[in-house]
Amino acid sequence: MIEFVNHIFSHLINSLPITRLLVVIGIMVVASIIILMFVLLYEGLATYAERKVAGDIQARIGPNRVGPYGLLQFVADGVKLILKEDIIPFYADKWLFVIAPYIVFTSSFAAFVPLSYSSHVYVADMNVGILYILAISSVVSMAILMGSWGSNNKWSLIGGMRAVAQIVSYEIPTVLSLLAAIIITGTMSMRGIIEYQSGGLGIFRWILFNNPFVFLAFFIYFISSIAEVNRTPFDIPEAESELVAGYHTEYTGMRFAFYFMAEYGDMFIVSAIAVTVFLGGWQIPFIAGLHINTWLRQAIEIVVFMIKIFVLIYVMMWIRWTLPRLRVDQLMEMSWKYLTPIAFFNLIGSSVWVALFNGKGIYDIFRGLFIH
C-alpha cells in the first residue's frame, strides 16, 4: 500500500524542493491522522471490551444503554471526559504536570509506526523496528515520574517511583526474551521477522515452535509485558486500593484520559510485538500457501493479525479481573530472581540451538528427517 502511495507522489517529490517539502509534510500529517483515528477507535473499543469482559467474569452485564449493546459507551465517556473540569493542583509543578500525559500518549502512539499489519499494509518498515518500539515506549517511565513528581502528592510520588522501578526491572526480561527470538530470524525489522515465519502451513514455522527455549521465552515475554503496561497483577504504580490511583491521582478529565488511552495503546503494542515475534504476525494459519486474490489476502491478513492480538489482549483482561495484586518487593523479586535468569538461560539456549542446528527450527529438522 505504501509503495502505491509512494508511486503517486513520486513525481511530486522529485519536482521543486519547496513542493517536495510540503508534500512530505502533508503525507506525514495525513498518515498520522489515519493512525490516530485507528488508535482512538481501537482504544475506545478496547475500553468497551474491557468492561464487557469484566462483566462476564463478574456475572453482570456491563454497558448496555448507549447504542446497541452499549457499543457507543466509549463515545459517551469521551464526551464526558472532555466536559470535565480540568484541575491543576495549586502547588503542582505546572509544566511537568501538564505535559506528562501527552508524553505518555505520544510514546504509546509512536510505537504504532513500525508495526506491520499485513504483507503490504504498514507505515514504515524500519530495520530496527523492535529496538525502536522498545526505546520509544521506555519514555513512558520518565513521563510517569514527571507527572507524579509534578502532582506534588506523596501518594503520586510513591506511585511514580514504583512505576520506574517496575518498568526498568521488567524491561530486562522483555528485551532478553525478544533477543532470543531475534537471534533466530537475524533481523529486527517487523516485516522481516514475520516473513521469516512463512511456510509450514502458516503455523509450524512460528518462532514460538522453533525451539524449546523460545517457547519459554514467549511466556517470559508475556508476563513481563503485562508488567510493562502496568496491569494487574502488576498494577502497583496505580494500585487504587493502596496508593489511591498512584501517579494519576491528581489528573482529571482529558489529562486522565490520555494516561488511560496510553495504557490501552501499550496493551496493543506489547501484544502486537508478541504476535509479530512469536506467533507469526499476519501469517494465516493453515491456508497460508493458498492462492487468493491479493486484496482479499491483505484483508484476511489484517484480520488474522488483529485476532491474534485481541486474543492476547483478552488474556490480559482475563488476568486483570481474576488475580490479586502483588506487593512491590515480591514484584521485584519475581523479575530479578526468576524472570531475568530464565530469560538469560533462554537467550543462551536459543543461541546454542541456532549454532548447533544451523538456524533450523524443530519443524525444519523433522521435515529434513523424513523428506530428503
Partner: protein
Amino acid sequence: MTQVDERFMYVNMGPQHPSTHGVLRLLLKTDGEIVEHATPHIGYLHRGLEKIAERVTFPQFTPFTDRLDYLASMNCNLAYALTVEKLLNIEIPRRAQIIRVIMAELNRISSHLIAFGSFSSDMGAFTPFLYGIREREFINDLFEMVCGNRLTYNYIRIGGVSKDIPDGFIEKTKEFLDYFPAKLKEYNEVLSYNAVFVKRLANVGVITTDQAIEYGITGPNLRASGIKWDLRREEPYLIYNELDFDVPVGKGEMGTIGDSWDRYMMRIYEMGQSARIVGQCLDMLPQGDFTAKVPKVLRVPQGEVYVRAENPRGELGFYLISDGSIKPYRLKIRAPSFANLSIFPLLAKGVMVADIVALIGSLDIILPEIDR
C-alpha cells in the same frame, strides 16, 4: 510544634482512602515504601451514641444499635435486647429465640461476605467483591422480607422480634442454604488458595496468642491466633448450647498461626458453620409467640449488668446501669473493632505500605462502631 524528622515522609492514609474502611485516618511515617510507624486517628464519625442512650427510652435506643455495626445490625440489636432483658429478667418464647439465632447467623454470613469481598478488593482483586455482594443480595432479600430493610435491619426487639417471619421465608432460606456451600468452594478456588493472594498474606501481620490476649482482641481475629474462644460456646445465650457447630481456629495453614491469611480464612470457615446453624434452627423452629409480653412504657428495674454477645467482628458488650426509670442511666458499649484496631500500630511497624492495606482488611474493622 513537634520536630519533623526529615529522613521520613509523613503521609495520611485516609480518612478518604479507599482501603481505610470508612473514616479511619492513619498517619504513616514512611521511609519510601517501608512504614516506620502508623498512628490511627479516629473520631471522624463520632455521634455520641452512648450519650444519646441516656436521653431516650430503652426501646427507643434499639434503632441506634443498628447503626453501630451497620453490616451486622441484627447482631447489635440482639446484644442490646439481651442486655435489657437480663435486667428485666423476662422469659423469651422459644420461637422468638430460634428466629433470633437464624437472623444473627444470617447476618454473620452477610457481614463476613462483605469482609471477604472488601478484603479481596483491597488486595487488588475486584471480582470476588462482586461475588460476595451477589450472595449477600440473597440475604438482603431475606431480611427485607422480615423487616423491610436492606442495611440497618431493625427486627430484634426487647422481648422478642418485631413480627413473625413471613410466609415463604423458610423455603427461601433453605434455598439459600442449598446454594451457598458451592459458592464458598468457588471463593476458595478464585481467591483463598490463589498463589498471589497467599504470598501477600502468609506471615504478614502475625498476632501471637499472647499479643491477642493482651490487646483484648476478640472474634475471628482472636481465633485466628489459635485461641478457641467463641461466646456462643463459652457463655451460651439463646439456644446456642443445643446447636451442633464447630469453632474454627487458626492453624497456620500457609504460614504462621495468626497471620493475615489465617484471619481471612477464619471468616470463610465461619460462614460455613453459620450456614449449618441456620439449617438446624429451621428444622427445630416450633410454633408459638414471637415476642414476650413487654409493657409499652418499659421501666427497667434498678441495677447494673454487662452482657456480651459474639458478633461477626468479636465481642460486643453492653454495660448498662439502670436507675429504675424509663431511660438508661448509663450505657457503655464495648465495641470489638476498637480493641481489634488497638493492636494496629504494633503490627504496622516495619511493614510495607501495601501490607498496611492487608492489615486493615484482615482485622475487618468497622468505623461507626469504633467512633460510636
